[in-house]
């Protein structure tokens, strides 16, 4: 490939199609590439796209000499976190509010008649939660930093509440539930959607709790760290447990696990199925023996790029016909479902396309269980099947309370 003959403009056009990583690699190749790859216009695009920055400012707010230096500064400062998550949080920074003053914290404590634990005070001094802008807008309600999930009509996405909102919500709920004003609970995070999910901080124990379906009537809550093991959102992100999910044009933090052992993967006849579940505390009903715990599960299916091959015969597509689930509670079969479609749909899989994802849920009488089963697919299409139906395995995935309930 003759670079010299092509000229600088062509070289620049090639480079402008590269990712920051590949641009950096190009800079290490030769002097000519180094000078083209260092063009600040390339790096200003990266800063704008990935970090929402229109000026070269480092994480501490100081100006840097170039956009290239700026990008490097951010990379270095956040090198201990997965970059996609850093980008995500930086872009939703618009919703994070500046910290409150010591005076405001004391005022809130007086109103609620409690004392915030030290780490929580410091948190509010630096960052007063997330501002929620549009009460009706679907896009805005998915920017919660704690993340969430959705299945059927149940949608939650949890935001960190600003202190003044936390105070209001706490007073409202305490009145609703009839908790004594000496209860020492403060609402710290909640979902701004129709489905309610509320997180409480117990100011005496420092423990976080999440309300169940009986919150309004009984004040029922589940501690977020049932085994008193401290994990963190950060740890979960480190090993890829929690990822970003693109849905309806907005990216949100999805709590469905993405890695084994909580996410299972199986490939049959080149159809790949991944499955994992998340505990839904706000629907849990500790008073109901049969439906105490509810788990939502997310199934992702795709056809590998070589297409479907059954008994040596290749097919360019396949379509789902039926599902067969075996749901176990503590190793005992709880339900055995054999029915058509999934959430009323018959997904058609084409080779190499993005995964078809859907969510559903199942109640369980115990906090530990599993789901496994298989889908029945037909080669080509349901309207025009080119062969006999075949079964695609859904490998067993666990239903269990996580170490840390979000």
């Amino acid at each position: 490939m003759d670079l010299e003959a092509m000229g600088d403009l062509v070289l620049h056009t090639i480079l402008s199609n590269l990712t920051p990583k590949d641009t950096a690699i190009a800079a290490c190749v030769s002097n000519k590439l180094k000078s083209s790859a260092s063009a600040d216009i390339l790096w200003s695009k990266f800063c704008s796209q990935e970090l929402d920055l229109n000026e070269p400012i480092d994480p501490l707010g100081n100006p840097t000499p170039s956009f290239k230096a700026c990008y490097q500064a951010w990379l270095e400062a956040f090198s201990m976190y997965p970059w996609p998550l850093v980008m995500r949080v930086k872009r939703s920074e618009a919703t994070l509010c500046k910290g409150v003053s010591e005076v405001e914290i004391q005022k809130s404590e007086r109103i609620l008649k409690l004392k915030l634990p030290l780490p929580t005070r410091i948190l509010y001094r630096f960052c007063d939660g997330q501002e929620f802008k549009s009460p009706g807008g679907a896009g805005g309600s998915l920017l919660g930093l704690i993340g969430g999930y959705s299945f059927y009509t149940h949608l939650v996405n949890v935001f960190l509440l600003p202190l003044n909102v936390a105070v209001l919500k706490t007073k409202e709920i305490i009145r609703q539930i009839g908790l004594s004003s000496r209860s020492q609970y403060i609402v710290v995070a909640a979902s701004y959607t129709e489905s309610e999910k509320v997180f409480f901080l117990n100011c005496i124990t420092g423990q976080l709790h999440v309300g169940t379906v009986n919150l309004a009537t009984e004040g029922e809550m589940i501690p977020c760290v049932p085994n008193v093991l401290i994990s963190s959102v950060h740890d979960s992100n480190e090993n890829g447990m929690i990822k970003l999910r693109e849905e309806r044009g907005t990216r949100s933090i999805s709590l469905f696990p993405e890695e084994p052992p909580f996410c299972s993967t199986a490939i049959t006849n080149r159809v790949k199925v991944r499955a994992s579940a998340v505990f839904v505390p706000e629907i849990a009903d500790l008073e109901d023996e049969r439906r105490k715990y509810t788990f939502s599960y997310s199934i992702r299916m795709s056809l590998l790029s070589e297409g479907c091959v059954i008994n040596g015969i290749p097919y360019s597509s396949c379509q789902l016909q039926r599902r067969h689930w075996i749901i176990c509670a503590n190793d005992r079969v709880e339900s055995d479902v054999n029915d058509e479609a999934v959430i009323g749909q018959y997904p058609l899989l084409l080779p190499g396309e993005k995964e078809f994802v859907y969510e559903s849920y199942t109640p369980l009488p115990t906090s530990l269980g599993s789901v496994e089963g298989f889908f029945t697919f037909v080669p080509c299409r349901l309207a025009d099947p080119k062969g006999a139906p075949f079964e695609v395995e859904v490998a067993r995935f666990p239903l269990q309370l996580p170490d840390y309930i979000f």
Binding site: M1, D2, L3, A5, M6, G7, V10, T13, I14, L15, N17, L18, T19, P20, K21, D22, A24, I25, A26, A27, C28, V29, S30, N31, K32, L33, K34, Q72, L75, S79
Partner: protein
């Protein structure tokens, strides 16, 4: 309107910039594009087919042709192809691809690799 230079090309008898072989590839592109204009995916597939058989040397000629003919869409497309070809590849691979040699001062290259150490993670093996 896409071919300001084409008229010139046909008027010019001794034209070294665009050989016949290349012309037959590049020139039909806009017509095909118009035909499949609505369907981006088909265009992508057509383009992939076209380029599966093209070696890097040919790609240089295609780019030069598109440049000379002032055919922006084709130029952008060929450049994207080059970018895809070097996606997630090592420094050595990119060097070989472009037929370049390292012309850095001793020690300069190490300095650069240190500065951009973050970009070497997860790169494809050569």
């Amino acid at each position: 309107m896409k071919f300001c230079t084409v008229k010139q090309y046909f008027d010019d008898e001794n034209n070294n910039n665009v050989t016949n072989g290349i012309a037959t590839t590049v020139i039909p592109l806009p017509n095909k594009h118009l035909k499949i204009k609505a369907n981006n995916k088909e265009m992508e597939q057509y383009e992939q087919e076209l380029l599966r058989n093209v070696m890097p040397q040919e790609l240089t000629k295609l780019i030069l042709a598109a440049n000379y003919l002032n055919f922006k869409e084709a130029l952008d497309f060929f450049c994207r192809t080059v970018a895809n070809a070097i996606q997630n590849k090592s420094v050595d691979y990119v060097r070989k691809f472009f037929g370049l040699e390292s012309d850095f001062e001793p020690g300069e290259e190490e300095k650069l690799c240190k500065e951009f150490a973050w970009s070497f993670e997860g790169v494809d093996e050569d």
